[in-house]
Symmetry: C2
Subunit: 475 residues, 2 copies
């Protein structure tokens, strides 16, 4: 390892221009401010020294080989929709955007896969699959995310209950290592025990091990029908208690989300999107997909009966796409609604065992309130991944907000650990959660993470200071 990182010079800028193109390179103050941060500017704003939009794998390989030789940090960036402060140039250097690499190749019907470059948008991948009667299930709320970002952060989302995470759909990938080597991790095969499973290690590694340059994704036959149920309850805790009961039924739901009335009110008031169910202090939203009407009807019947037997006031069936749309529109607008309803936000993305959801929710509210913070737990309760959103009121000073959120997060993470949960369910560590990681996983695990990081990136030039932080980063 050679520190400190090189401060980039005009000769470095020229080299990057020479292996890409003049009009795809920006330096210093030419670089747009939006590239200083992701969707959470709260987790740090850092100016890159150079911003380049690459067009192919060979350009990435040349840039990395040069950066490796010259000891320049490189951060790969997709659509910038991350929520962990991951895709930022914490130690300066090169920001490498892959958003021009957005080709989607024709669906491979025999293998039921689709191959794309990392800058392709998730929404376009989903549409390309659907146009061929197939289905790419992962659906994290953010439709404008890049598929590369989804893969490298192992994006989750609402349909993970039935279909799993992005990880579960990655068949193989092409990547560039920090030294510029172009590698393939696995191929278009459905099983593989050839050497170590580096593909899965790289998924969710937040751009700290290598740069993804192409990915092949598994597709499924599209379900032919689906139905959304809304179950209103007297409290969020009752909603949470219902979750294991839904999961015990012989039908696997596609999604299980919960929402408190307070959050629904915010979205209705701020964004004028109206939720079709008016009763209940909290609602459980359950979605089923099926390949036949009979199968769907059986699932809906069983879930409705279970809801009514477990204290739901009602079980409203949104059987048409329009009615289901009005439910999911409100759910999808939560983050926007909260942004409109508060000065700023902090978010806790813990995941707990499904059996502990109700307990987590109850205690999380108490913790935040004890620090004078308004908290809105919502999200993927079918997964135990509770987005505990903290909202800053206009009355709080910067200092009060900072110390109250830090104190709340410290206690919320300790609670998650006590309940057998994890620090982050789907948003990742990035820069924003780094300071809480060692306390959570312990020093031996951090040592192991560091060894793994070094196995790929011995000079620590790729997205330094994210997920793991070496003292040397700062030198």
């Amino acid at each position: 390892m050679a520190y400190p990182y090189k401060k980039m010079q005009e000769e470095d800028f020229d080299y990057i221009r020479s292996v890409t193109a003049e009009d795809r390179v920006w330096t210093g103050d030419e670089i747009a401010r939006e590239y200083y941060h992701d969707e959470m500017p709260e987790y740090g704003e850092y100016p890159p020294e150079l911003y380049v939009e690459v067009e192919n794998t060979e350009e990435i390989s040349k840039i990395m080989a040069y950066a490796y030789q010259e000891n320049i940090p490189v951060v790969c960036r997709g659509a910038g929709t991350g929520l962990a402060g991951g895709a930022t140039c914490k130690y300066g250097g090169i920001m490498l955007s892959i958003m021009r690499m957005n080709r989607i190749f024709p669906v491979d019907h025999k293998n039921q896969t689709i191959t794309a470059e990392p800058g392709a948008l998730l929404i376009d991948i989903q549409a390309a699959a659907a146009a061929e009667g197939l289905f790419y299930p992962p659906d994290p709320g953010e439709k404008t995310a890049s598929i590369g970002g989804n893969v490298i952060t192992n994006a989750g989302g609402m349909k993970a209950v039935r279909y799993g995470l992005t990880r579960d759909f990655v068949r193989c990938m092409e990547v560039v290592l920090p030294d510029g080597s172009i590698m393939n991790f696995s191929s278009n095969v459905v099983k593989n025990t050839t050497g170590y499973d580096l593909k899965d290690l790289v998924i969710g590694s937040e751009g700290t091990l290598c740069i993804l340059t192409q990915v092949t994704l598994k597709l499924l036959p599209a379900p032919t029908c689906s139905c959304t149920l809304v179950m209103p309850f007297a409290s969020l805790e009752e909603c949470a208690d219902m979750v294991p009961k839904v999961l015990e039924l012989p039908f696997v739901p596609t999604a299980i989300e919960f929402l408190e009335r307070e959050l629904i009110d915010i979205v209705e008031r701020r964004l004028h999107k109206f939720f079709p169910v008016k009763e209940g202090e909290a609602v459980l939203i359950v979605m089923y997909d099926a390949s036949s009407r009979q199968e769907l009807d059986s699932a809906v019947r069983a879930a409705s009966e279970a809801a009514l037997a477990n204290g739901a006031f009602d079980c409203c069936i949104a059987a048409t796409p329009e009615r289901a749309g009005s439910v999911w529109d409100v759910r999808g607008a939560i983050l926007e609604g909260m942004k409109a309803d508060s000065v700023s936000q902090e978010e806790c993305d813990v995941v707990v065992p499904r059996s502990r959801i109700a307990e987590y929710v109850k205690k999380a509210k108490k913790i935040a309130l004890s620090h004078g913070i308004r908290v809105e737990p919502c999200g993927h309760c079918g997964d135990g991944n509770i987005h505990t959103e903290m909202l800053r009121g206009p009355e709080m000073s910067d200092e009060e907000w900072k110390s109250a959120t830090h104190a709340s997060l410290t206690e919320l993470y300790a609670l998650s650990k006590e309940l057998g949960g994890q620090l982050s369910g789907e948003h990742g560590i990035g820069n924003g959660r780094l300071k809480f990681l060692e306390e959570f996983v312990g020093p031996r695990m951090i040592q192991l993470y560091k060894s793994v990081k070094l196995a790929f990136d011995d000079k620590l030039i790729l997205n330094p200071g994210k997920v793991v932080e070496f003292q040397e980063d700062r030198m």
Copy 2:
């Protein structure tokens, strides 16, 4: 790294006895010969210096800490049913059996999981889940395998088409690192982006990174009905061509296997198990699971129509457990039948894209025949994982057999690579496929594997000489 490995002394034996028990430690010639090899003695027979049956995680931790300090190799062994020469003491040292650690904890209904120690048998895990109305799908043919072995080799099996691999069912694990540290990789949560995904890296690492001491597995609601179809065709190639057509239907099959008549004849003749379908030079066996009779009927109808439209002589429906049993019994007896019908066997476990199965099968037969070897491709064609079994006739000398299988394997692996496949689909690298790995994945990948190995096992004491081989191993 400190080489060579220590040759164990009486003091080392005494230490291991002191942290376990006198009557669970064997040394030198006391060690049963079966522990010199796994199910493939062809891949090497190596005597351990000491064989110990541990009873808990703490014993493993103490043994590893000692071995780490003293530079003694350790190989963890489950039921010994591996097919890659993986669980053998290639460089002597300690063989650590976890077969006494076989507790299965009560099913956790709220989380739909089951937790077990690594020595629990797969068949007992399946039974424990079934007794509670739940289902653990992974089903590699070998029922007496340990769950630890299944996890550490990422066992596949017949039902991977629908349900996936062992990997897809591992929620979390407890392991012991080479230095004796006890770690937990993830917890009983359904998604996790907290640091690097070490859990998935360890799955399939063949005991070279750490020792598994406890695992929590995801369970599914048990399907309520299932049906097996047998589609006889004029040739194996026609069977293979049918596979993508089955997969294009809107119903995901549980298993798709193929068998040539010659293999069926061997099982009928040698083992007196009789296959219910008499016509066809080759048969495709397709199984569906469903949660309702309607769903099952729709799938069976669609698959039958597709079979008849694509050249099948017939589509025989084995709707009762007895009839389905007679089909699967023959399929399950293939390895035993081939063992009875030949002097010895060599096996090629390649996996190719589903779209290339027919091409692989056709060319594989030509390759083996050109080297004078009888070859029987069979297996998981729904996965593209074709077990290309080579059978040694009594007329071949040791030398002929060795050189002909080596030449065949070299060409078969090159063919798999050319078709976009992999070296091993489910049996792993171990010792038996090690010599073919570098040619297949290339030197940069081997370098990466070595870095990853060192990240966990800096002294190279855990199952040395498997998956990756360091020159230093031999010193």
